[in-house]
Point group: C2
Chain length 425, copies 2
Amino acid sequence: MTQIELARSDKLSPEMRWAARDERLSPDVLKERVGRGSIVLIKNKKRKIKPCVVGEGTRTKVNANLGTSRDKLSLKKELKKLQIAIHYGADAVMDLSTGGDIKKLRKAILEHSSVALGTVPIYEAAINAQNKKGHLSRMTADDILDVLEGQARDGVDFFTVHSGITQAVLSRLKKQRRLISAVSRGGSFLIEWMMLNKKENPMYEYFDNIIEIAKKYDITLSLGDGMRPGTIADATDRAQIQELITLGELADRARKNDVQVIIEGPGHVPMDQIEANVTIEKKMCGNAPFYVLGPLVTDIAPGYDHIVGAIGGAIAASHGADFLCYVTPSEHLRIPDGNDIREGVIASRIAAHAADIVKRVPGALDWDKEMSKHRAARNWKEQIKKSIDPAKAALYRKSSIPKDKDVCTMCSNYCSMRTMEKYFK
Amino acid sequence: MTQIELARSDKLSPEMRWAARDERLSPDVLKERVGRGSIVLIKNKKRKIKPCVVGEGTRTKVNANLGTSRDKLSLKKELKKLQIAIHYGADAVMDLSTGGDIKKLRKAILEHSSVALGTVPIYEAAINAQNKKGHLSRMTADDILDVLEGQARDGVDFFTVHSGITQAVLSRLKKQRRLISAVSRGGSFLIEWMMLNKKENPMYEYFDNIIEIAKKYDITLSLGDGMRPGTIADATDRAQIQELITLGELADRARKNDVQVIIEGPGHVPMDQIEANVTIEKKMCGNAPFYVLGPLVTDIAPGYDHIVGAIGGAIAASHGADFLCYVTPSEHLRIPDGNDIREGVIASRIAAHAADIVKRVPGALDWDKEMSKHRAARNWKEQIKKSIDPAKAALYRKSSIPKDKDVCTMCSNYCSMRTMEKYFK
């Protein structure tokens, strides 16, 4: 039985018991939410990991994307990147490899990952068709389902499926036009297939078969947003919302069949449209957890898109988004290296935590209070220990040691906290 | 005459004319707002620089703090930091030096700064008292006014004056208690003075004299927030709001006397209290421009506080804050170096721009649209040129050149934008 099925049968699984403890929720509340689908426990039945708990009232989670491209395809480097992502606190990773032996890469990452692993199976299916049949347009629905089944068997915990890109969506995209038509890589594979074959999206047509595979392994379906805007000028347009309507219907179908589901969201979105995006996702998709990429609140900062994504992610999460896909400084410029991954994970974790404070996630504010207590006392050892990245904080501190060891070199002898201590005990 | 006086006499000064052109506002609208005080043109009469235009309907501006402490007091390094701040786009700088020959430092920075320069004159007054009289408690109102007059004569463009810390504020602070009593350095000097002398704040008592000096040189008064919370747990408390009430009254007094005024704001503030902070500032201070430090939306990320501040700054500005004081990665750990200054300025500029898009600041969205047009066309030269930090974008691009020169190494041959171009022209 899948977790949602168990919850609906009023059974508390060991995974639910662990998740309730870890999230400081009552087991009954958690079970009820898993049953309704507002919380998912992401974990393939075959995998021996802690589930990634995503949804209503839980800590906002962070995903880090890994993976090769034709230009950068070292397995060793991917495993190193995986290690960095987990070390800095990613709650899940996605292997988005499109270069090299992607099957072998995925298996190696799965083997080494202690956190939930997601994939976009259409990549493998499209690349197979390209390599074996000469063009991705020759890919069949069976080719896609075979890849899904193979990846499920390997132990992948969640699948992005772009099942919401229908011909109706594409006709709206054509009619309205965009500055950048589509930036979803998985989406672009399917769109090309649909344009050339003039047929409906096979991942929409065969969604029941996808459900079947997901159910067998308790894979969480992450309904992908192929119409994710690639510039804030295109955000929240009719193509994007048309797809989201379909994703809501597909989410219902998945849950009716006891399959856990989350919804992927934009993308490039100006600050004043983020709340609306979260609200309509929650409403139209029956409170399915919302998994957002960024969102990026401006297009003009390549090299700093982790900061742009942290602004958008914090706002999205504060309005109810549940799962943040990180953005690294290398976005729009190159495939990320280890340092980019560190910066991306930390920036997203900051956004997630800032939102968790205002979401009243149990324990979130305590972290800030404890840090502040040590800050007031100028207890540097504990401040560094409590930092989101203790190594970086320690490095900064060590690089600039003041004469008076209890202050810092910003204010030195004029430390306001030290002065105030004399008068306010 | 000061700019506000000119505007009220229906005179369009060269500064107003320039500001209207630069901000794409009609000169009459700008003049009316300067007259009401919802826009200020920050510039000492004696200085030959463009004014820093802050307020209603104008581009959100960014300030970078510079300055020495006892532990770090190289004049050469400060001038280098000034150069970096201006190069990366700071609209104003503040010299917060407390170490070395601070008079000489300030004069050198003034001489080299092409942007508006602010100071916190109480630093110099308190340090003088400490050095010449043995303790800051021996500082007199005249000592403070002399320093203000001297700095005004030197050409400082705006002054932070913590005139709102009254005994009434301190009694509320004592009654309610805080995790961190006060983190404003200027505030802490005055609080110590008030606690030891058991007298009212001289910068409150002699506010009319401060107004007089400001008027003579058309210095903008930045009413400082000595009760700025130093942890999100202390945000928006009675001490902070009590001070803000007083700042509103002082702002009225300044403007009645034809002195331009802005209000300083927090500090450490959780995401869901930022809008309220902006709203009450605007309401209680007669729409005086709001100058916020951060705000920082969590306390747990030393080493990354530029990101924390970008989240808070973007939210504050989107709700109407006008002027962002940057926060650097070194905040809470050390005095910033050149690299910290670059990161701080860029992070704040990203926050300001993201907010300007939703504030509908003329031209803001055009930048994003142009970037996106070049992105869709994979025109790397123009994308880099349009980036907020072209040098960093170029470095990333050069570090990872793909086989196909028109894409990037993230997706390489599977670039969605290139694929889509075939089907959506």
